[in-house]
Symmetry: C2
Subunit: 341 residues, 2 copies
């Protein structure tokens, strides 16, 4: 019995079943008013959500998203053997305080907007490797908390560059279990940090595109798959500019993904919403995955999906000190299984 899980340079095969048994999400009003609005069941009244601060609102949103996923299965937080979470706030406080409420073993992650996929791969390893049977994974982001921490307080009304992305107010959560179910995570790939020297923090899509392309191309090479072997390749979140760059970079390596490639930051907003290059944030890919992509997999719109979480690993301090923007991208393959079919 060959138990080696690694294929090629970076890709991981999960041998034991890892299912996404439940998922939930909460988004803000702007996201509810976007093209995916009808898919989002739980929405904040406003970005304060009856809390005194935006940060407390974001923490509550993350916790609610996880609780929604748990309730669908009649689980309570203490049923989770591990809780893996991350967000964009310094010291990932939304995740920490949610973990405090849950009181279960907690693994804090930071990968900027790639955090969700980082968590899904690690969570899948925990299940696949027999370290546990129920794992919660969740991420969040919030427009006002992210903007004031990473760029400018929104009250300042600073004009945004046309290349800038709009941080999604949203959170998505996932319960992973060791069972065969309709939604299965079957492969994962941790990406390398790639930095092509872009230092404009108002153009993060371009900074992350090379990392996304590298992970997608490496995945094809590792597995021998072709783009048409996967129904949907979806990054989160390159936005409009980064998505096109990524597609072209993958094309240069001989893989044409033009017909089945999209991006969570492109899906979540309409250009009429004045978001410039699209959505971003650790809660963008998680809320789009939980709100729209997984339900559509269940609806048989697609049978397989490579979700590639992309992160810009800068900080205001690194930018102020003249550093360029390192990008990273991790991927998971999610497949729709026909149960008993």
């Amino acid at each position: 019995m060959n138990l080696n899980r690694k294929i090629g340079n970076q890709t991981i095969n999960f041998i034991n079943p890892v299912s996404i048994s439940s998922f939930g999400c909460v988004v803000g009003k702007k996201e509810k008013n976007g093209p995916l609005g009808k898919w989002f069941e739980h929405t904040l009244d406003n970005n304060y959500d009856h809390e005194k601060t935006w940060e407390k609102s974001e923490q509550k949103m993350l916790q609610s998203a996880m609780e929604i996923a748990l309730e669908k299965k009649n689980y309570i937080p203490s049923d989770l053997e591990y809780f893996l979470a991350g967000d964009l706030l310094n010291q990932i406080i939304c995740s920490n305080f949610t973990a405090r409420s849950f009181g279960v073993p907690y693994i804090g992650l930071y990968g900027a907007c790639s955090t969700l996929v980082e968590g899904l791969i690690l969570g899948s390893m925990i299940i696949d490797g027999n370290y546990g049977q129920k794992v919660g994974v969740a991420t969040s982001s919030h427009y006002e908390t992210a903007e004031r921490q990473l760029r400018f307080p929104t009250e300042l009304g600073v004009q945004r560059a046309m290349t800038a992305q709009w941080t999604v107010t949203g959170s998505g959560s996932f319960v992973l279990e060791n069972q065969i179910d309709q939604l299965m995570i079957t492969q994962g790939i941790f990406g390398k940090v790639i930095d092509m020297g872009i230092s404009n923090a108002m153009n993060m899509g371009a900074a992350m595109a090379p990392a996304a392309a590298d992970t997608i191309v490496t995945y094809f090479k590792d597995t021998g798959k072709k783009p048409e072997d996967i129904d949907l390749i979806v990054t989160g979140d390159l936005g409009n500019i980064g998505r096109v760059l990524c597609k072209d970079l993958v094309q240069e390596e001989g893989f044409d993904i033009s017909s089945n490639f999209t991006d969570c930051g492109v899906l979540v907003f309409d250009p009429s919403q004045d978001v410039h290059a699209g959505g971003s944030g650790a809660g963008c890919s998680s809320s789009v995955l939980a709100g729209y992509l997984l339900p559509q997999l269940l609806n048989n719109k697609w049978k397989s999906m490579l979700l590639v979480g992309t992160g810009a690993l800068l900080s205001p301090t690194s930018s102020q000190q003249g550093e360029s923007i390192p990008g990273i991208a991790h991927g998971v393959l999610i497949e729709k299984k026909v149960i008993g079919g």
Copy 2:
């Protein structure tokens, strides 16, 4: 064949061999002048280390520590299949930029001062679970970068409370491999977030002690072990105040660890160094482990060690918004094996 790795509520048994095949550390001058000074081979000339900023100096230190460990085995960074790292800076930039230099799959972690043990457990899972054969784990902290970000810029000369700990300038790194060797990681335990309502950010040892005690007691209950079954129990970093509190809390649960319990923050500085409650920082436990504890295991001073990494999961923002300090503690059991004995 029962492949289940979980024992009791939270403890993990590694079934396949996970060795610490190499390790390295770099510390600052103050740490070199402390009681463990003779154990630290690599020291910064000063906390700038010929860089323009303290942050760049910390990043270089983290990278150097990992490179030292790799060089001992004649490895190069690209030999690593995964690099797991974290630090205290916002968006963990020291780790991100080190990962950029290495160009290998990267998993960014945040657990404050518990990050090292979080990384060691996840790295051990990767090896034990057959996801890879060589994993690098490293963390760092730096007095000036941490103080100015989390409390006050050191130039201000703000008086420090007697309960405050001194952030260690240091970094420790570890290479994990799937082989039988002298230093083996055999068990791990992820801790729960525990918050007893302490909100004084100048007394983090007290805030973290309940989490450390919970993890230690849970480990004993999960494994059926008694304190005397382990040669050394060492937290990192509760400091003088937190260490005593933790010992008492563990005692209340019926386990007497008074004779074999210490703390990295207690070991690293002498009271004459004016550090008040002792050392702290994500680089404290990693540099003390790599510089002193593992060499002493190799010297047969101890045969087994439970390293419990403790983290205070607050941020300046959470404190300003009136939140108390959530604590967490993760543990790993490291054993000295007699090879061919």
